[in-house]
C-alpha cells in the first residue's frame, strides 16, 4: 500500500469512527469509535513516517469528492511532522476519553463529533490546496466548537466561552481565507505547489499583506496575544480529552500555518515580518506565563501556559526568520528546529497535563486549585505523572521541555552580535523574555503541583478522591513516557524535525545536528549531552540516597504532626492557597496584571471601632479582554440596539424597506449603465 492510499484509508477510517459514534449502541459507542480512530491515527502516522523517511511529498488529486475545485492532498515532510504530532496527542486523548466518557463524551453527538474533530486535525497538514485546506480547517473549527459546548452546554460560562471561541476563530479563518485568495489570485492557481512557485516573485507589498493576514489568522488559532482570549474560557469548559487535543494539537496547527505561509510558500521575507513574529511571540510568552502564574484554576492555568508556549515557539520562529533575512542560514534552520521541537514537546506535555487535570476533575469534581490538595497521597499515579509533566513543561532536565529551550537559547546565543542592528537589539531582549517566561513557568507549575497535589486536602471532594481507572492513567502515562524518552534521548525526535525543516527552508543542505547520544550543533559551538546528564543525575540520586541511609544512625522515620508553631488544630485552611502563592508575582507585576481588588470592612452597629467582618475580593481577569474586547463588544451591542429601531413590527414598514432597496439597486444600475 503506498502512502497516498494510507492517507485516504486513514481519512475514511476516521469518518467511519464518526459514523460508529452515531450508529453503535450506547455501551460500545465510545470504545468502538476509539478503536477505529486509533486505526486512522496509525495509518496517517505510517504515511507520515514514510514521507519523513523518504523526504518526498505525497501528492493526490481527486476532482470527484469536492464539487468545483476538487480535493488536493499534498503531504510534505513539514506536514508529516505535524500529522505525527497530532497522532501523538490523539491516541492517548482517545484512550483517556473512554474513561472520561460519562463526563460529556458519551452522548451521541459527542461520540460522532469527536472522531471527526480528530480526523480533521490529522488531515489539515495534508491539505494541498486552498479549498481542501479551508474545508478541513472549518471542519476542525466547527467540530471543536461543538465539543466545547457538549460538556456543560447549558451553563452560561460554556455558552459565553463558545461564542468567544466562535467569533475569534471565524474571524481568523476569514483573514486566512483572504490571505489565500490574494495569494491564489496572484499566482494563478489554488494548489500550494503552484503558489510556492509564484509567491516568491510577487510584489513585496502583496507578500507583506499575505503574511500579515496569515499571521493574524493563524495566530488567533494558535492563541497568540491579543487573540488568546478564547483559550482560558474554552479550555475549562471543554471535556479534558478535547482540551488536550485543542491545546496540544490544534494550536500547533496554527503555528504550522504560519510556517507554511511564511517559510514554505513565501520562502521567507524581510526583517520586519520576523520582528513582528518575534514581538508577538515575546509578548505572548510573557503575558501567558504571567497569567499562568496568577491563575487559580488548573485548566485556566494550563490554557494560559499554552499561550506562553506558543509564544516561545513564535519567538524561535521569529528569530529563525530574522536570521534567514540577514543571511545566516545555519542559524535560521536551528531556530526553525527549535520551533518544531518546542511544539512537539508542548503537544506531549500539554496533552499529559490536560488529561491529568481531567482525571483530577473527575475524581474531585473541581479544577479550582483552592479546592484541591493532598492528591498525591490519594491519586499517587496520576499525581506523579502530573508532577513529571509539570517538570517537563518547566524545562527541567532531563525532560523534553529542556531540549527545546536549549535549542532556542543556542540559536539566540549564536545569533547575538551578528552585526545587524535589528538582530543585535532583538536577540538580547528575546533572551530576557525567554528567561522571565521560564521563571514564571516555574512559579505557575510549582503552584499547580504544590497547591493541587501536596499538603492537606482543601475540600471534601479532594479528601474523598480516589485513583481514576487504569485506562486514564495509561493515557497520561503514555504521553509522560514520551516526555521522558524525548528528553533523555532527543536523537529519537531530532532527525524527523530536521527533515521537516529542510523541506521548509530549502537553503540548508548539510546536516544541522550531529547525533549519536549527544546533540552537537554543526557549524556552531554547542554540545548537549542529555543522556549522560540523565545518567549522571540518576547515579547521583541513588548515590546520595545510599549515603544518607548509611550515615544515618536511625534511618526509620517517626511520623509526626506537621510543625505549626505549637498550634493545635492544624487545618487545611491554614495552608497557603493558590491566590496567596501567586500574590508576590501579582504584586510585582501589578501594572501588567491590573488585578481587581476590593476591601470591604463592616463595622458593628454600636461602634465603629469594632469590626464585624472584613471581606477581601481579589480577581485577576484578563487585562486585554477588559481593555481591548469589552469596548468593541459594547460598540457592537449599541449598534445592534440601534438597528432594533428598524424593526417596529409594522408590515408596511418592511414592505417599504423592500421597495426602497429595489429603488436603490435600480438607481445604481442606471448610474453604472
Amino acid at each position: 500500500m503506498n502512502a497516498g492510499t494510507l492517507v485516504v484509508t486513514g481519512a475514511v477510517l476516521g469518518l467511519g469512527a464518526g459514523i460508529a459514534g452515531v450508529a453503535l449502541p450506547h455501551r460500545s459507542r465510545v470504545t468502538g469509535a476509539a478503536v477505529l480512530l486509533w486505526g486512522a491515527c496509525a495509518l496517517e502516522g505510517v504515511a507520515a513516517v514514510h514521507v519523513l523517511a523518504t523526504g518526498h511529498a505525497v501528492v493526490l488529486h481527486s476532482s470527484t469528492i469536492l464539487p468545483l475545485t476538487g480535493v488536493e492532498v499534498m503531504l510534505s515532510p513539514l506536514g508529516a511532522f505535524f500529522v505525527l504530532l497530532v497522532a501523538l496527542v490523539a491516541v492517548p486523548a482517545t484512550l483517556h476519553g473512554i474513561g472520561y466518557a460519562r463526563h460529556g463524551l458519551a452522548s451521541r453527538t459527542a461520540a460522532c463529533v469527536f472522531p471527526i474533530f480528530v480526523t480533521s486535525l490529522l488531515l489539515v497538514p495534508t491539505a494541498g490546496s486552498v479549498a481542501t485546506f479551508m474545508v478541513l480547517w472549518e471542519l476542525m473549527a466547527l467540530t471543536s466548537l461543538l465539543l466545547v459546548l457538549v460538556g456543560h452546554g447549558r451553563r452560561a460560562e460554556a455558552r459565553s466561552a463558545a461564542s468567544w471561541y466562535a467569533v475569534l476563530t471565524q474571524g481568523g479563518a476569514a483573514l486566512i481565507l483572504i490571505a489565500w485568495l490574494v495569494l491564489a489570485a496572484h499566482s494563478g492557481g489554488q494548489s500550494f505547489a503552484a503558489m510556492g512557485h509564484h509567491a516568491r516573485h510577487l510584489a513585496p507589498a502583496v507578500r507583506g499583506l499575505v503574511f500579515v493576514l496569515a499571521l493574524i489568522g493563524f495566530g488567533s488559532k494558535a492563541g497568540v496575544v491579543p487573540f488568546h482570549v478564547w483559550l482560558p474560557k474554552a479550555h475549562p469548559e471543554a471535556p479534558s480529552p478535547v482540551s488536550a487535543l485543542m491545546s496540544g494539537a490544534m494550536v500547533a496547527l496554527g503555528v504550522y500555518g504560519i510556517v507554511l505561509v511564511g517559510d514554505a510558500l513565501l520562502g521567507g521575507g524581510p526583517v520586519w515580518w520576523w520582528l513582528a513574529v518575534l514581538a508577538l511571540g515575546a509578548v505572548s510568552a510573557l503575558f501567558g506565563s504571567l497569567h499562568a502564574a496568577s491563575s487559580t484554576d488548573v485548566k485556566r492555568l494550563l490554557a494560559y501556559s499554552t499561550t506562553d508556549n506558543v509564544g516561545l515557539a513564535l519567538l524561535a520562529l521569529g528569530a529563525s526568520g530574522l536570521f534567514a533575512a540577514t543571511r545566516h542560514p545555519v542559524l535560521a534552520s536551528l531556530g526553525l528546529v527549535a520551533t518544531l521541537v518546542l511544539m512537539l514537546n508542548h503537544a506531549a506535555v500539554k496533552g499529559a497535563l490536560f488529561l491529568a487535570a481531567g482525571s483530577v476533575q473527575m475524581a474531585t469534581g473541581s479544577s479550582d486549585l483552592d479546592r484541591l490538595g493532598g492528591l498525591l497521597r490519594r491519586m499517587p499515579q496520576t499525581g506523579a505523572l502530573f508532577l513529571v509533566a509539570a517538570a517537563a513543561i518547566t524545562g527541567l532536565p532531563p525532560l523534553n521541555g529542556f531540549i527545546g529551550e536549549w535549542l532556542l537559547f543556542q540559536s539566540l546565543l549564536h545569533g547575538a552580535a551578528t552585526g545587524n542592528t535589528a538582530t543585535d537589539v532583538a536577540v538580547p531582549l528575546a533572551v530576557a523574555a525567554l528567561a522571565l517566561t521560564a521563571g514564571l513557568t516555574v512559579v505557575a507549575f510549582v503552584k499547580a503541583v504544590g497547591i493541587g497535589f501536596l499538603g492537606r486536602p482543601r475540600s471534601q471532594g479532594a479528601d474523598e478522591a480516589v485513583e481514576v481507572p487504569v485506562t486514564m492513567r495509561l493515557a497520561v502515562g503514555l504521553l509522560v513516557a514520551v516526555c521522558v524518552v524525548f528528553g533523555v534521548v532527543p536523537a529519537l525526535e531530532l532527525p524527523a524535525v530536521e527533515r521537516a525543516v529542510r523541506t521548509a527552508v530549502p537553503g540548508v543542505g548539510s546536516a544541522l545536528l550531529a547525533h549519536g547520544v549527544d546533540v552537537q550543533l554543526v557549524g556552531l559551538r554547542g554540545v548537549l549531552a542529555p543522556t549522560e546528564l540523565a545518567g549522571a543525575m540518576a547515579v547521583a540520586v541513588v548515590g546520595v540516597m545510599v549515603l544518607r541511609r548509611s550515615l544515618s544512625r536511625r534511618p526509620t522515620a517517626r511520623v509526626v504532626d506537621a510543625w505549626g508553631c505549637g498550634r493545635q488544630l492544624q487545618t487545611a485552611r491554614m495552608q497557603y492557597t493558590a491566590t496567596s502563592f501567586a500574590e508576590p508575582v501579582q504584586r510585582v507585576f501589578d501594572d501588567v496584571l491590573r488585578p481587581v481588588q476590593d476591601l470591604d470592612v463592616t463595622h458593628v452597629a454600636e461602634s465603629r471601632y469594632v469590626i464585624e467582618a472584613v471581606t477581601f475580593h481579589n480577581a485577576v481577569d484578563d487585562a486585554i479582554e477588559r481593555g481591548l474586547y469589552r469596548p468593541v463588544v459594547r460598540v457592537v451591542r449599541r449598534c445592534g440596539q440601534a438597528a432594533r429601531a428598524l424593526q417596529p413590527g409594522s408590515v408596511h414598514r418592511y414592505l417599504g424597506y423592500g421597495l426602497g432597496a429595489l429603488v436603490i439597486v435600480l438607481a445604481a444600475l442606471a448610474m453604472i449603465g
Binding site: 490538595g373 493532598g374 498525591l376 497521597r377 508532577l387 517538570a391 524545562g395 532536565p397 537559547f409 543556542q410 539566540l412 546565543l413 547575538a416 552580535a417 543585535d424 538580547p428 533572551v431 530576557a432 525567554l434 528567561a435 522571565l436 521563571g439 516555574v442 512559579v443 510549582v446 504544590g450 501536596l454 499538603g455 492537606r456 549527544d518 559551538r525 554547542g526 548537549l528 549531552a529 549522560e532 546528564l533 549522571a536 543525575m537 547521583a540 548515590g543 546520595v544 544515618s552 544512625r553 536511625r554 534511618p555 522515620a557 517517626r558 511520623v559 509526626v560 504532626d561 506537621a562 510543625w563 492544624q570 491554614m574 495552608q575 497557603y576 496567596s580 502563592f581 508576590p584 510585582v588
Partner: protein, 314 residues
Amino acid sequence: MVGAGISSAVQVAVVAVGGPVLLGVMRKVRCRLEGRVGAPVLQPLVDIRKLFRKERLRPDQATWIFALAPVVLVSTVAVAAAVTPLVTTHPAFGAGSDLFVLVYLLLVGSTILALAGMDAGTAFGGMGSSRAVTIGALAEPALLVSILALSATAHSSNLAAIVRATLAGPGSVATPQRLFALGSLLIVIVAESGRLPVDNPATHLELTMVHEAMVLEYAGPDLAVVTVGEAMRLTLLLGIFVNLVAPWGVATTTHAADIAVGVASLAAKVALLGVALSVFEVSTAKVRLFRIPELLAGAFVLALLGVVSGLVVK
C-alpha cells in the same frame, strides 16, 4: 578520560567538604566583625555529623517528595560540580558544562525544594516556596542575559570554553561587557543562594523568611542533607564566579600536581570572595521583600548594559 573522571571526583569532594567549611568561615568572619569569638570554623561539619545521628521525622501529610527533595538537591549540585571547570578545565563530560545546562540543573534542586516546602501542608512552607520561586523567576532574566554577555568572547555558552578563552586571552578580562555581566551575575548569585540583603539565613522570625521557611520541617539526616546541599550550592556558584572573574590557577591538564594547585587556588579564591561577602553582609540590612525586584531589575539592566557595551566596544 580516567584523569578527567578523577578530577571530576576531586571537584565534587572539594565542593562537598568545602561547602560547610565555607559556611563556617563566613560565620566566623561575621562574628569577628561583631566583636565576638564565634563558633569554630569547622562547626558546620560538626553540626552535620550530629544531625546524621539524630532521628528522622516525617510529617503525617508528607509524601515521597519530602524525602526525595534533599537528595535531589544534593545530587544536582554534585552533577553540576562534576562537569564544571572548577579545579580543571577538562572535567568529565566537560563538553556538557554549558552554563544554560548548569542553570537548569540547579533549578531542578530549587524547584523540588520549593515543592517539599509545601508538602507538609503548613502555612510557612507555602510562604517560603512562593517567595523563593518568585525571586528565582525575577532573577532569571539577569542570569540568562549575563550568560549571553559572557559567552560573547568564546562564542559558546560552554563554561570550560569560556574559562579557556579567558586564560588564552587575558586582554579580554577587563572589558566593560564582562564587568557588567559579572556584576549582574554576583547579584543573582547572592539572591539565589539566599544571602543578605535578599534573605537572612540566620533569621528566627518566620514572617521574614524566604529560604528557611521552606526547610522548617526538616530534621535529623534530612536536614543534614539539605544543609550540605545548600552549602555546596553556594560554594559551586561562588566557584563558578571566581573562575569567570579570574580563572588563573585552574589546571589545564589532569596531572596530580596541577590539580593540587587548582584545588588550592580554588579554595583561596572562594574563601576570599566568601570573606568579602560576609563583610558586606555585616554592613548591610535585609531589604524588604518587595524591594527585591528593584535589586534584580538592577542586575538585569547591568546585564543588558553588558550586552550593549559588548556591541559598542567590540
